[in-house]
Symmetry: C2
DNA sequence: ATTTATACTTTACCATACATGTATGGTGAT
DNA sequence: ATCACCATACATGTATGGTAAAGTATAAAT
């Protein structure tokens, strides 16, 4: 009886199993956001017991969250010593940016030849929303910015590409949160977004690629200033090499 | 005074803290290799308790290994159900290959302009070794192949790029282990490697990029055949879309 | 014969206890 | 004043018991 009723449901594959997220995963997401936003300062020590007390849980879920964060290079687990929020390394960020550029430029090229019209409409829509919040609401803008880039990747079915970018973006976003106000002016970023969509819509891979490339190189400009202004947030960068 | 005496010590920066690897990490590495080599079959269920018994340890380290494997998309943890070795998805592999091509082509371009001569010598050396084992020893060849690609990335300081590639390679290597014998002939691969180094050594970014690109597209050719020959190893690939 | 209901098994998840390595302040001998 | 030594506190790593949920098999009922 109930089964036959269920079979009448509209889109079975759209069903999400409610996904009762485990405590460890919830903690992971929460801490990840806190680190990216800078609520947890680079270099700060994170204690399993301490976090467990704060969230009224046991050490085990905290431990699992730490492991995931360590995989993402957001914390550094030192056995029998402690777990610390990793400081930002200028060299690392530039290296990550290089990878991101390689991937997203390739995606933009592909989008110019095979992105569906609905995706272009969605991208234009996102740009409109970005304009709407471009006066002051920088946090909201960052979310729309992320959705913009994600939409491009998913529009050509590059889910894996987006997954990689997402991890890289985390490191780069930490810097953007450091200088929310005096970074690259939002109207300029929005203009760059428009040029990217222009290239995609025109079916011009070279133009789309060039627009994406110059867009992603913005951060290189502001990075040295930021590193100089927040010295305690960055790695000493002299004798590290590997870590 | 005494400080000057301490300054006479041999090489303080060469000190490595011995890195006593935890059981969980050891298990992760072991299981990872087993999955890539195909010793653990796609779809197979992995039980925390079972693995713990096999390796004479407790369930906790096993659990941590599972979490790391899940981050790498090598196993799929289903809460309250079980953990399974993920089947290979043709679409996923093609998506991952796309990302790898984007990164490694960019790296090859960069290497053509700024790789040190020592790196080129090292690459030539690796090719010689590959020739030496190209008759039969396919497992050894795979190791040398990995070292070849890693050397290129690290020669231009792209450690982050290599880290991303390493994760992608895992998925692609699973396929190579499926058809160790009748895959692309090793001499052909070695020839492609040579062309890549030729481009780098000549300082010709376009040539290096083109050589790398065609090299990384080899797998597309053999993939359909392999997928047809090992149907139980691959995802059904019809209604998945996301997972 | 088909369906419903119930008991049972297995699983990942969480909490707790214990083991082991590390940092640190104090103490006494030199 | 300096050093070795030790006690203490705290960090992560490991072991183990308990729990809720999902799957399965058996039995009852229609």
């Amino acid at each position: 009886m109930k089964k036959s009723a269920k079979l009448a449901m509209p889109a079975p594959q759209a069903f999400q199993p409610i996904e009762s997220v485990s405590i460890g995963t919830q903690l992971y997401r929460h801490l990840r956001g806190a680190i990216i936003r800078g609520d947890l300062h680079p270099g700060q020590a994170l204690s399993e017991s301490e976090i467990a007390r704060q969230y009224s849980t046991s050490r085990q879920p905290v431990r699992e969250a730490f492991i995931k964060l360590a995989e993402e290079r957001l914390v550094n687990i030192q056995p029998q010593r402690g777990t610390f929020v990793v400081k930002i390394s200028v060299a690392d960020v530039l290296d990550a940016r290089f990878v991101r550029e390689a991937i997203e430029v390739a995606v933009a090229q592909e989008a110019a030849t095979s992105a569906p019209p609905t995706a272009i409409k969605e991208l234009r829509n996102l740009i409109e929303q970005q304009i709407a919040v471009s006066h002051g609401h920088n946090a909201e803008f960052l979310a729309l910015d992320e959705e913009f880039h994600r939409t491009i990747s998913l529009s050509v079915g590059r889910a894996h590409a987006w997954r990689v970018i997402e991890g890289i973006k985390a490191q780069m976003d930490r810097i953007r949160y450091l200088s929310l106000d005096d970074a690259t002016p939002l109207p300029l970023i929005i203009e760059q977004h428009s040029r990217i969509v222009d290239g995609i819509e025109a079916g011009n891979p070279a133009a789309a690629a060039a627009a994406m490339r110059s867009h992603l190189r913005e951060i290189i400009i502001s990075l040295p200033d930021i590193a100089a202004r927040f010295p305690d947030v960055f790695e000493s960068e002299s004798l590290t090499g590997a870590s």
